[in-house]
Amino acid sequence: MAQVIPVYHVLVVSALLFSIGLYGAMSRRNAIGILLSLELMLNAGCLNLVAFSAKWGPTFTYQTFRAQEDVSSPVGQIFVIFVITIAACEIALGLALIIAMYRHHRSIDVDNLNLLKW
């Protein structure tokens, strides 16, 4: 039995996850629901990055201050860290917006926010 996980499996999972998140973002009325869907989509991306990192990492040549050494690369994982950070920011801002919106409209249905139209 193979002791490995082919990358394509991960890609398929993340594609499905992304699509599910996409559906949620497009169809939920609740603004918080949309935020949740966005988190799903971000996670799909992160999953890919982690998988690629696990594949490529060990062969990466790393330049330190003193010498050049072969180390496993954490680049993909660092990407994920940044994505998580930005996602956290996004969540915070989004929730703040939702609270402000609720304060004005007494509702968090994005369908109610349709003033800016023809």
Partner: protein, 812 residues
């Protein structure tokens, strides 16, 4: 002009640089007053302090220029550089300290320069103008007291003096013309100063329009001269010395018009004489207008409507002197050969002599004290023009200067008389005033003696010089000038006669103020009309002017008699090089090769009779030697006949005074005069009505002009307006067509496009639903569409896709 041409004062700067401030001082004062008048509110403008301040500003301005003029005059006077080598022409330019010529503006590639020209003549004239104007302004302080618009008066006065000074110092035709026209404007403004008087309004218009006729001639003359200049192909210039040099260098072609046309159209054989004559006569038109010569003299008596100091200014210092000065300044055009005789000068002499005589006869009959003086001015101007015509430019300018002193004196004196008589001007209501105003009588008498040319006064020397030249010109060369001399002498007799009459009517006999009709008393009773002496502010200028009028002749006669010769002219015709202009007669080829040189035949007469044997000393640079030579020659060079005109002039003065005394002071003479009046009523009437000049001009020129104007008006109304209206109609028609096209087709297209876009927009605007998820859906749809379109070849290959997926999973 060589290096030595720059006369530097003892302060070390160029005199001309200083001379620039002569016109600038009064003009700065004028602008200062003008801006104060414009800016300040009415209550300040009416205040006494403000008015005093403004008057002081004006007087200070002209006073400064007087001081500078004196400095320059003194300099020219004491150095006495001989005119013959031309080193007296000091020229530098306005707004410049270092360079010779300062550019004023450019016309294309032509640089127009501006500058000032100082020579003997301009130095002498600015001295006269500045001080006379200064004294008149002082005098006005008293005379115009209580006048509401006194500040305006002083503003115009300053501008008037400034423009005259600027004109005298101009070194080119352009600034000369500008100042000349400014003077016309100022005379217009000042003659009509009492603008509520209908007669003053008419007089100002008359003065302006009549002088404008002459100005037109002056303009055309400048054009002719410019035309000549352009034939040389040199860059455009307006400077007098350039023109003088041109005439000197190119020589004169004396062939007649037809001959020149027949043989040559070029200037290679000299400038055609007829062109210069035409230019000279056109210039002389300007003189006729400004200096009130015969056909256009009619404006000057009417100009008496202005305030009396203004009359003094116009008659003495500024306006009328300009015409004489114009001829003197452009003498190189009038007398291009340097012989003191030319066709143009003959016309000048004849018109001058006739004017001198005619105005003197009119002066005999007038009753208005200012009108008598006005006609005497015309007469004296006639003498000046006559002197110019007989080739005595120095004598003319000398007479202009002395005349300025005594005529300013007489006018201001008459102003004092009018002031004393409570603004009565008619001499029939005066009489016996010597008891009431003795000081005025004394100074007025001094002015009268000077005007008569009584021996010893300034007028005697200047008039005597004119008669000597006229006699000399007639006796030696040109017999046709006898008429000029005779008219002049007769005019001198008449001058003495009417001045005696005036003195008698004003100052002698019994006072006749009770005859003044009620309408002319200005609300005073007869007792209140008692004549009174003027205040000191008016009499002091009179005394100063009297001193000049009496004694100004002596230093000139026995000091520096060439002070009044334009060295610009003399330089180019008698100085420097070989000889005067070269005369080539194109129609005689044999002579043309050798070139007939005209030597200075007038050297032993004319103004040079008094001056120097110029031909002997040319080319020398030793100024002192020249000086000595000139003055040692000045007494020995008198020809023997010189005593005849002197005696005749003396005789004329004495006979005129004697006749006047007999006719007006003696009972039998008065009776005889009255019987003559009854005997020849027609003659008296004609002279009294000034030969009906005004009426003739009114009937034969003005009315004809008006008829012509009616015709022009008809042409204007029916032809021009008709044409314009027709053009307008056609335009309207085409405009209608264009409007139809514009509204129907162009607008239709535009509106159609707009309507189509509008309907489309109405349809698709619902895409803008306002639902954010809707937009998101569309974005995803587009992205997906893009992905599918890009990858359709592989994506729709379902079999391959399934196989590949299987393979990918198969790696498990």
């Amino acid at each position: 002009m060589n290096e030595a041409a720059y006369i530097t004062g003892s302060l070390g700067f160029q005199l001309a640089q200083l001379g620039m401030w002569i016109p600038l001082c009064p003009i700065i004062a004028c602008f200062l007053i003008f801006f104060c008048q414009v800016i300040l509110p009415k209550n300040i403008r009416d205040s006494f302090v403000y008015q005093t301040l403004m008057k002081t500003t004006s007087i200070l301005g002209i006073g400064f220029s007087g001081i500078i003029a004196t400095w320059i005059f003194y300099h020219f006077w004491t150095h006495q550089l001989p005119v013959v080598n031309g080193s007296q022409v000091a020229q530098t330019l306005l707004f410049s300290t270092e360079t010779i010529h300062k550019s004023w503006f450019n016309i294309g590639a032509h640089e127009i320069q501006v500058g000032i020209l100082l020579d003997n003549m301009s130095a002498a004239v600015v001295f006269m103008v500045a001080w006379v104007a200064f004294l008149i302004q002082i005098y006005s302080w008293g005379y115009m007291k209580g006048e509401k618009h006194i500040v305006r008066y002083y503003c115009f006065h300053s501008l008037f003096a400034a423009s005259m000074l600027g004109m005298v110092l101009s070194d080119n035709f352009l600034t000369f013309l500008i100042s000349w026209e400014l003077m016309g404007l100022c005379s217009y403004l000042l003659i009509g100063f009492f603008w509520l008087k209908k007669s003053a309004i008419n007089a100002q218009k008359k003065a302006f329009l009549v002088t404008r006729i002459g100005d037109l001639g002056f303009f055309l003359g400048v054009f002719v001269l410019m035309g000549i200049w352009l034939q040389t192909g040199q860059p455009i210039t307006f400077r007098f010395d350039d023109f003088a040099k041109l005439i000197h260098e190119y020589g004169i072609n004396t062939a007649s018009f037809s001959e020149i046309v027949q043989y040559s159209r070029q200037f290679s054989n000299g400038i055609p004489m007829y062109l210069l004559t035409a230019a000279a006569l056109l210039f002389f038109m300007g003189t006729i207008g400004k200096s009130a010569q015969f056909p256009l003299h009619i404006w000057l008596p009417d100009a008496m409507e202005g305030p009396t100091p203004v009359s003094a200014l116009i008659h003495a210092a500024t306006m009328v002197a300009a015409g004489v000065y114009l001829v003197a300044r452009t003498y190189f055009v009038f007398d291009p050969l340097g012989t003191g005789f030319s066709p143009a000068l003959l016309v000048v002499a004849l018109i001058g002599a006739f004017t001198a005589f005619m105005a003197a006869t009119i002066g005999v009959t007038q009753y208005d004290i200012k009108r008598v003086l006005a006609y005497s001015t015309i007469s004296q101007l006639g003498y000046m023009v006559m002197a110019l015509g007989v080739g005595a430019m120095g004598a003319a300018v000398f007479h202009m200067t002395t005349h300025a002193y005594f005529k300013a004196l007489l006018f201001l004196g008459s102003g004092a008389v009018i002031y004393g008589c409570h603004h009565v001007q008619d001499m029939r209501y005066m009489g016996g005033l010597r008891k009431y105003m003795p000081l005025t009588f004394v100074v007025f008498g001094a002015g009268t003696l000077a005007l008569m040319g009584f021996p010893g006064t300034a007028g005697f020397f200047s008039k005597d010089m004119i008669f000597e030249h006229a006699f000399g010109a007639a006796y030696v060369d040109h017999p046709e000038l006898w008429i000029v001399f005779i008219l002049g002498i007769t005019g001198a007799v008449l001058t003495c006669f009417y001045m005696t009459r005036m003195i008698f009517m004003v100052f002698f006999g019994k006072n006749r103020r009770e005859l003044i009709p009620e309408s002319e008393r200005h609300g005073y009773s007869i007792e209140e009309m008692t004549p009174k002496e003027s205040p000191a502010v008016m009499t002091v200028p009179l005394i100063i002017l009297a001193v000049f009028a009496l004694f100004f002749g002596w230093p000139v006669k026995y000091g520096y008699s060439d002070m009044f010769n334009s060295s610009l002219y003399v330089e180019h015709h008698f100085g420097g090089g070989e000889q005067t202009a070269v005369v080539i007669n194109e129609s005689k080829p044999a002579l043309a090769q050798g070139g007939q040189r005209v030597t200075g035949t007038t050297m032993d007469r004319g103004e040079l009779a008094h001056g120097h044997a110029a031909a002997d000393i040319h080319g020398s640079a030793d100024v002192d030697k020249l000086h000595d030579t000139a003055h040692s020659g000045s007494h020995s060079a008198h020809p023997s006949w010189i005593i005849i005109p002197q005696l005749l002039a003396l005789l004329a003065v004495l006979s005129g005074i004697a006749a006047g005394y007999w006719v007006f002071f003696r009972e039998d003479g008065r009776k005889m005069k009255d019987s003559w009046k009854r005997q020849y009523p027609k003659l008296y009437d004609i002279v009294y009505n000034k030969y009906y000049c005004d009426e003739y001009i009114q009937r034969y020129i003005v009315e004809k002009l008006l008829v012509f104007n009616m015709f022009l008006r008809a042409v204007d109304m029916y032809v021009i307006d008709g044409f314009v209206n027709a053009v307008a109609s056609v335009t309207v028609f085409f405009t209608r067509v264009t409007r139809w096209f514009d509204q129907g087709i162009i607008d239709g297209i535009v509106n159609g496009v707009a309507a189509v876009i509008d309907s489309i927009s109405r349809g698709i605007k619902y895409m803008q639903s306002g639902y954010v998820q809707n937009y998101y859906l569309i974005i995803v749809f587009c992205v997906l569409s893009y992905m599918i379109i890009q990858g359709h070849t592989t994506l729709f290959n379902i079999k391959a896709v399934i196989l590949l997926i299987k393979a990918q999973f198969g790696a498990m």
